[in-house]
């Protein structure tokens, strides 16, 4: 799988390259600034891009902007954005085109290598991987909303895992329940949210996130 990596901190960049290559990713180019990232994304059209939000020359949200701009050129270009902090605003901007293939994670999540690699694969496959902290913020904000206020703690847990981009099988394993029970939870969540049930995993997640972030 071909990866473009953007990270301005040399040590972190080397670490990420090592980590990705150890898991059979092919890092076709690693850049350290926004303009190079824009060029690399359009030039290589990678299977997935791993991008730090804050990059030179402005040291603001250069990486995020470059990623969003590239997705305008190449719709659905899978991008996993890494950051020292997460903002719902940015999650929303990334999800705005509703094409999937988007991830937004705290840099800390790299520590759990297996989970991080799973997230990269998920995004490359057109799925979503939202940081649990984004989900937590979204859910805490929506507590006052009627539809979500009615969720049971277990349903809420299932929704969180779902929004992180996990499959029903993974949710079942995490919650120590059967896949059938997960399906029951998700159906109940969807009916509460007024969303028609669908077979497609990623579409479901996107629909939930769109619902959560649009209102």
């Amino acid at each position: 799988m071909r990866v473009v990596l953007a990270e301005d901190h040399a040590q972190l960049r080397e670490g990420l390259i090592r980590l990705l290559e150890a898991h059979d990713f092919d890092v076709v180019e690693a850049v350290d600034n926004g303009p190079s990232l824009s060029r690399a994304l359009l030039e290589h059209r990678p299977d997935v891009a791993v991008v730090d939000v804050r990059l030179p020359p402005t040291f603001t949200d250069e990486g995020l902007r470059a990623a969003i701009a590239a997705r305008r050129e190449i719709p659905g270009l899978p991008v996993l954005v890494l950051s020292q902090y997460v903002e719902q605003l940015y999650a929303r901007e990334l999800l705005a085109d509703r094409r999937g293939g988007v991830g937004y994670l705290l840099k800390d999540r790299v520590f759990n290598v297996a989970q991080f690699i799973e997230a990269v694969r998920q995004v490359a496959g057109g799925g979503t991987a939202m940081d649990p902290e984004v989900i937590a913020q979204l859910l805490s904000r929506r507590v006052a909303d009627q539809p979500l206020a009615g969720l049971t703690p277990r349903e809420r847990e299932a929704l969180e895992l779902m929004a992180e981009g996990r499959s029903n099988a993974a949710i079942a394993a995490r919650m120590f329940i059967t896949e059938k029970a997960v399906a029951k939870h998700t159906n109940s969540i969807f009916s509460r949210l007024g969303l028609p049930p669908s077979e497609d995993d990623n579409r479901r997640v996107l629909a939930v996130l769109a619902y959560l972030s649009d209102r």
Binding site: R54, F59, T60, D61, Q84, Y85, E87, Q88, L89, Y90, R92, L106, K107, D108, F111, N112, Q137, S140, R141, V143, A144
Partner: protein, 363 residues
């Protein structure tokens, strides 16, 4: 037509008020002179404490009326008197240049001013009844008041120096307190976590061969400590200067803040481009504090943030539909906002009748 009549009626009222005030002024003048004379037998000291504030209040009433008549507000620039002692305070009040200016104005106002205002009553009543062009005497009186009571450039500068000295001292205090808080947070938080991380790593290294499973557990602990240290640093950074503020400026950062607020918040902005960083930061934290207050105290269901830039100023309104009853004298939060703004000559006005709504205006 009706408006014109109403304006004339108001001028009659104004003349009446000026007459009553001038009469009150005469009484106050006599009391003040007596108090000054009585200072020698000490009795005058407490009297001064009453007379000088009364003079100032009366002068301010005149400034307000004359300002209304002339269509341009007349500022007042009394220096604050910080002395607190039973003797020191009256002495300082007597020594203030403004006290003698006010006294001489009282003298003029209780003679010429009184005559002018009585004349003005007659004149304005005739104006009203016979529809004569305008009341000259009232205007002359207003000019007299402005001439004597408008602060001199020197007085305004002195007042400004006093205000700036105070706000600078507050800013320095606030910053020192902030630095102490950051130091404490780092010491108790991230630093402590990094120490425990180092210990876990050291132990893991030692155990690696003898007991790999324990080493593995220690490494997991190290990772957890690392995550916690990062989380704490993140929170700290947010409190110092939110990254999204650096990325997106005031409006973007407020959008992000609104998204993270469990309230229906409407954000209306006329701002284009970026403001100076310290102003953005002060405005951001002021709004954040205001929203926190709304959530904590008001039981409001919706709030509204408005940003505008008339002239070169920045105006921020935060309003809600909650209980009201917010009082800057009571809340440390509101005082904190005022302090943050004072470093930029900014002001905070709070309108919060019991029952709501609450409106905070920051400039």
């Amino acid at each position: 037509m009706l408006a014109k009549v109403w304006a004339r009626v108001r001028r009659v009222g104004c003349a009446l008020a000026l007459t009553v005030y001038a009469a009150l002024g005469l009484a106050l003048l006599i009391l003040s002179v007596v108090s000054l004379a009585l200072i020698v037998v000490w009795v005058g000291l407490p009297l001064i404490m009453v007379c000088v504030p009364a003079q100032r209040a009366l002068a301010n009433q005149h400034r307000r009326l004359a300002g209304w008549l002339l269509g341009a507000p007349i500022r007042s620039a009394y220096l604050r008197v910080d002395e607190r002692g039973l003797v020191a305070r009256p002495v300082a009040l007597v020594r203030a240049a403004s006290t003698w200016r006010d006294l001489s104005w009282l003298l003029v106002n209780s003679s010429v001013g009184l005559a002018l205002s009585i004349g003005a009553i007659v004149e304005t009543v005739f104006d009203l009844l016979l529809f004569l062009p305008g009341s000259v005497l009232l205007t002359i009186d207003a000019h007299l008041i402005r001439g004597m009571l408008a602060p001199s450039e020197r007085a305004e500068l002195a007042k400004r120096v006093q205000d700036l000295t105070e706000s600078r001292a507050e800013t320095v205090d606030t910053q020192a307190a902030e630095l102490r808080r950051i130091e404490r947070d780092l010491h108790d938080g991230a630093q402590a976590r990094l120490v425990s991380l180092g210990m876990s790593l050291g132990l893991a290294e030692e155990r690696l061969e003898a007991d790999p499973s324990q080493a593995r557990q220690l490494l997991a602990e190290a990772r957890a400590a690392n995550s916690q240290a990062l989380a704490e640093l993140r929170d700290l950074v947010r409190g110092i200067h939110p990254p999204v503020l650096a990325d997106r400026g005031l409006v973007g950062a407020l959008q992000a803040l609104v998204l993270a607020t469990p309230l229906e918040v409407e954000l209306v902005s006329e701002l284009s481009g970026r403001l100076p960083a310290p102003v953005e930061s002060a405005a951001y934290f002021a709004v954040a504090e205001a929203l926190t207050n709304v959530i904590k105290h008001s039981t409001a269901t919706r709030a509204r943030i408005e940003l505008s830039r008339p002239d070169a100023r920045l105006l921020v309104h935060v309003s809600d539909d909650g209980l009201g009853g917010a009082d800057p004298a009571n809340g440390t939060g509101l005082r904190g906002i005022a302090r943050r703004l004072s470093a930029f000559d900014g002001r905070l006005e709070v309108s919060s009748p019991t029952g709501g709504p609450t409106v905070l205006s920051m400039e």
